[in-house]
């Protein structure tokens, strides 16, 4: 068991080192693909704290992701803040918005919860669309420049390779943070609630409040991912708030395996690579996605990584 854990840690370290040196040999195109995988992977892993670990399907997480994107874009555009400050604001903003939306959503369970998250997510989307003077309406916010990073670091963030490496570091740190949460006593409570909230309540845990905690943490990391996404795509657009954006972390978690911590990251890699590849010869990407998701739910519900780990455990 612990030998396997050591093996996985070593493997992750090798992958991270390889990713760090990616700009040294790979063309820009692949750096962009890798950065997108990392950012969406963080988004999916943040989402999965609520979905895989706490057992609640949210279809409104784009609200936090998109909100984070808008926060960073606006801070950069209007106040020229250092990027580090903007990202921290995105993290806090995502958490704060999750606190407000979550306050309503965690009052209800299961389907109701899912429907509510969807509705509130679309509310945020509607606000961004309708409040043109502030949010730029359907054009979103563009024309912001990434200046300094702050924290005394001298980085040329205009260089995509540098921005990519920064993304790698931040996603790694944030991922580590999330991972620690999942293996903490708090994480155990979340996993227990996913299976049987009532039993947890009868051990003395106010389940609704803990659902909210999970939702807020998840929203904060989604916001951070959004904050990284805006400078990457050079725009904060309403599409990042739309429910189809909420669907992405769901699909990624299912693809990789929602019961595993790394599942969402692996799902993100598969998702982005597939999307890049398939859209190069057909624009029926969503159709393909729908079929893959349906097959995964029907036959491989534990995801690719989850199923692989199940097989290994059975043999070992």
């Amino acid at each position: 068991m612990s030998r396997r854990a050591g093996l996985i840690t070593a493997l992750i370290a090798v992958i991270l080192v390889a990713l760090w040196f990616l700009p040294a040999w790979a063309p820009y195109f692949y750096i962009f693909v890798a950065a997108e995988i990392l950012i969406l992977g963080l988004f999916a892993a943040g989402f999965n704290l609520v979905f895989g670990y706490t057992g609640m399907l949210s279809l409104g997480h784009a609200a936090f992701f998109g909100f984070g994107a808008y926060v960073t874009a606006m801070l950069l555009l209007h106040f020229d803040t250092p990027l580090a400050f903007a990202l921290i604001a995105s993290l806090a903003g995502g958490g704060l918005l999750a606190l407000v939306i979550g306050f309503f959503c965690v009052r209800l369970t299961e389907v109701y919860f899912t429907m509510l998250t969807l509705a509130f997510g679309m509310m945020v989307f509607s606000v961004a669309q309708q409040w043109r003077s502030f949010t730029g309406g359907s054009d979103g916010i563009t024309g912001f420049a990434v200046g300094s990073f702050g924290l005394g670091l001298d980085l040329t963030l205009g260089n995509p390779a540098v921005y990519y490496q920064l993304t790698l570091v931040i996603v790694t740190l944030a991922g580590l943070c999330l991972y620690l949460i999942t293996i903490s006593p708090f994480g155990l409570i979340l996993r227990a609630m996913a299976e049987n909230p009532e039993r947890v309540a009868f051990t003395g845990i106010p389940v609704r409040r803990y659902r909210l905690y999970s939702f807020v943490i998840s929203g904060a990391f989604s916001g951070l991912a959004g904050g990284l996404f805006a400078p990457f795509t050079r725009v904060a657009s309403p599409e990042t708030l739309h429910w189809s954006q909420s669907a992405e972390p769901v699909l990624m978690s299912i693809l990789g395996g929602s019961a595993t911590f790394l599942g969402p990251f692996i799902g993100s890699a598969i998702f982005v690579l597939l999307e890049t590849w398939i859209t190069s010869f057909t624009d029926r990407w969503m159709l393909f996605l729908g079929i893959v998701l349906a097959l995964m739910v029907m036959y491989l519900r534990r995801g690719l990584l989850g199923t692989a780990l199940d097989r290994l455990t059975k043999r070992g």
Binding site: L180, P185, R199, A201, F202, A259
Partner: protein
Amino acid sequence: MAEQNTPILSTDALTKRFGGLTAVDGVSIALNEGEIVALIGPNGAGKTTFYNMVSGRMTPTSGQVLFHGSDIAGKPPHEIARAGIGRSFQITNVFNELTVRENVQVALVSHRGKSLRLFAVLGMDRALRREADEILARLGLESMAELRTGTLSYGDKRLLELAIVLAIEPEIVMLDEPTAGLTPEETRAVIELIRNLRAERPYTFFITEHDMEVVFGLAERVLVMHRGQLLATGAPEEVRQNPEVRRAYLGDEEEDSAA
């Protein structure tokens, strides 16, 4: 006798109505510290509803539940659990996806106030591990600590439920049909176990049970409910001889055979 010392838990005219139906109708009982009390009654007598109101699963329509003299009626389950009342469920209610040790640790994390530790590593908390293993050992489950709970036998899952209840160190242990679905040997083992536990610490056991053998073999006092009301209370032998109780059970049997 009950008048001599203040009861640890009592209910006062506890009532639950569902629309026009009165499921529990003004039931007043008292549990003394360290007793093993069984709640029995024919199907539909209102036992489960009454039980759920005491443990916080349902909110009473009216009446009080006094625990150490303060009213806990209508409080949410987690507050009642924290106050010192632990309960199990009729249908096994364990966490199948977690390991056996983690099942107990859920309750321990809650009870020890560690549930908001976000950046501590659960696996490195020696105290939590030791305490969980001690509880498992008391129930003879120590060898299964690392197993995924879903792989346990039904009987072991029922024991694990008891372990989860004990982990919050309750003063009152409420067990909802603890022997339902067990084999006769397993049932005898559970009876023995409950006796031993009570010998170790002054738990007050409040049990519902269908199996009369368990009731009369274990309980020191029996409460009988019928049609939402408290029909009789007393030592097992008294209750067994009580003509009204006999009629209640026989009457129901007649109705059953007529249906």
